[in-house]
Amino acid sequence: MNIEELEQIAESVRQENAKYDYEVNVCMDLACSSQGAGQLREELVKAVAASGKKVLVRRTSCMGPCSAGPLVRVDPADLLYHHVKAGNAQAIADSLGNAPVPELQCDLNEHFDQQMRVVLENAGHIDPEKIDDYIARDGYKALVKALTEMTPGDVIQTLTESELRGRGGGGYPTGLKWGTVAKAGGDLKYVVCNGDEGDPGAFMDRSVMEGDPHRVIEGMAIAAYAVGATRGFIYVRAEYPVAVSRLTAGLRDARRRGLLGNNICNTPFCFDVEIRLGAGAFVCGEETALIASIEGRRGTPKPRPPYPAVHGLWGKPTLINNVETFANIAPILRRGGEWFANMGAGRSKGTKVFALTGKIANTGLVEVPMGITLRQIIESIGGGVPGGHTFKAVQTGGPSGGCIPNEHLDLQVTYESLVQAGSMMGSGGMIVMDDSSCMVNVARFFIEFCMTESCGKCIPCRAGTAQMYTLLTRICEGQGTMQDLELLQDLCATVKETSLCGLGMTAPNPVLSTLRYFRNEYIEHIANKRCPAGVCAVEAAVEVMA
């Protein structure tokens, strides 16, 4: 494979597509297909066949605004239809070449205008199971370019210039990480893609793996070339069966095209990837626990150092990056590090994909430039809180993050600013809560999660989260005292300072951030035995008494 051959494939796809006058793209992601997108697609195929027009009906991955699904986009007119039912298929087929279907048209300009798509650039435009569709959109060009025109050092240099930081949440500079693995000795090294998206309420990685699997594979291959690795693993949650099958098909197709395997692009570079299934353990998102899991053991973390970059999988130097990090690699190599570093704000460059969910009008996937404010994301892109309720808080970073209240909504989204506000970037879950959510109950929800997900290896996390859960339950039930509140704060500090791995170190964050911004809700539960949001059972008891 070389650049010319890639061009040939891309050209043949373009010629094939040029045979059609219209393209009807049907979103077949989980959200849309659970609303009947599968049947809709079948009806569309039938309807356009009967119409005699030259139409390509394409299955695509997530287009973004899931709450408007099932979504259909008609090209070249670039018309987006929302809430399309199978019964609308005929109307859409009839509209091709005529006026659009008015009742299906949606106005999501504000939703899309403030977004910037790098990782999701192909979402809604390619069939995820067709490698040639990916190649036609400049896919694998970056890999071929790296292998034929760049040294491994050049690749790492470009990444360092881009100032890309790990998208799994920690924000460690990717160029630095790659450099460390590249410098590590030994002839056997591994590249691991962390697709164990354990954060409940986040689905960015699922969408990337399902919607653009080759982007992840290409990123991994480039990484392997840069650090000198020959084998790779993608660790995917077993809860994502579609992602597993798309990646399996993607790896097979990449091998067939000679983009994985031995002597890729007629160079000495050899690399292949295997899939490993997770089995439902949040802690496996932690690097050393993930390694243990790939080795077929219980996912318990180990103290670091030694870091996996030096002593990882089976004791060999191992590069571990998140799905979204790998998805950023190919565009950076194609367009240069400077291009990437020009996006964003402060020390956070590029874009970030967020899964916008909860009490918000437009739920779904959004990709925004770093430095955008939370208010822009929630009010302009997300369309605000629906149903006449008022915004209370936005939760980022999942069980490791915190809740950010209204007064901090003008905060720019960067790794540093979110930590300052008591939360963190995390992998990209963004859950909006309104006045019907009780923040004490939310804190208890997350602590319960961390308690059950604690691997049990170190005491602060194992026992600390359990004690915090007991205290929070007591407060929720109206049995708490002001002393409990102090005890809780104390316990948070202990667990944070003394836990072995990231799970324990960040587990207190949801409690600490709610104590910081919503202390009056805690006090209301304790002093007045009342849940202001009417969620906790304490209020029910009061009502009965009254």
Partner: protein, 165 residues
């Protein structure tokens, strides 16, 4: 190098062949333990003592490690599932949208707690740690089929359809 004899298949149930083939595909490597247990669970629906013993002996991993792995990961179940399985997502987005009320309604309707199966072996009630359909919260999985924006009434009606059929 000593060649270890492979343990015999526990019975002539064809599904053991699938398990055996999965292990062969990975060269009977010990690190394929989790992969193999996944195959057992997808073939038999759950892991029992016999299957864990068989896998441990075939891959030459200590039984303690195999059992440790089987119990550490939430995805593995040591109990046979019912004929139907209702899984309610308990991820954050679903929780914010009232998944706890769905769980309570289902528990009351079926008279069991989550993680249990009705006495007649018909319906299992489970919770999941996020299935990634957060934009359609709250989400329930009916025998693995995702249904979004689930309301309490709808849930009860669907459950009744299962109990009647």
């Amino acid at each position: 190098m000593t060649l270890y004899p492979m343990p015999p298949l526990p019975s002539d149930d064809k599904r053991w062949k699938i398990v055996s083939n999965a292990m062969r595909k990975n060269g009977f490597a010990r690190h394929a333990l989790i992969e193999t247990l996944h195959t057992v669970q997808s073939s038999f629906g759950y892991l029992d003592d016999d299957s864990i013993r068989f896998v441990a002996r075939s891959l030459r991993v200590p039984l303690s490690q195999a059992y440790g792995v089987a119990t550490f990961y939430h995805y593995f179940s040591l109990k046979p599932p019912g004929k139907h399985t209702l899984t309610i997502c308990a991820g954050t987005a679903c929780y914010i949208k009232g998944a706890d009320k769905l769980v309570a309604a289902a528990q009351e309707k079926l008279g069991i707690k989550t993680g249990q199966t009705t006495a007649d072996g018909e319906i299992s009630l489970m919770t999941a740690r996020c299935v990634g359909a957060c934009s359609r919260a709250p989400v329930a999985l009916w025998d693995g089929e995702v249904a979004g924006e689930m309301a309490g009434q709808q849930l009860i009606e669907q459950l009744e359809r299962w109990t009647v059929a």
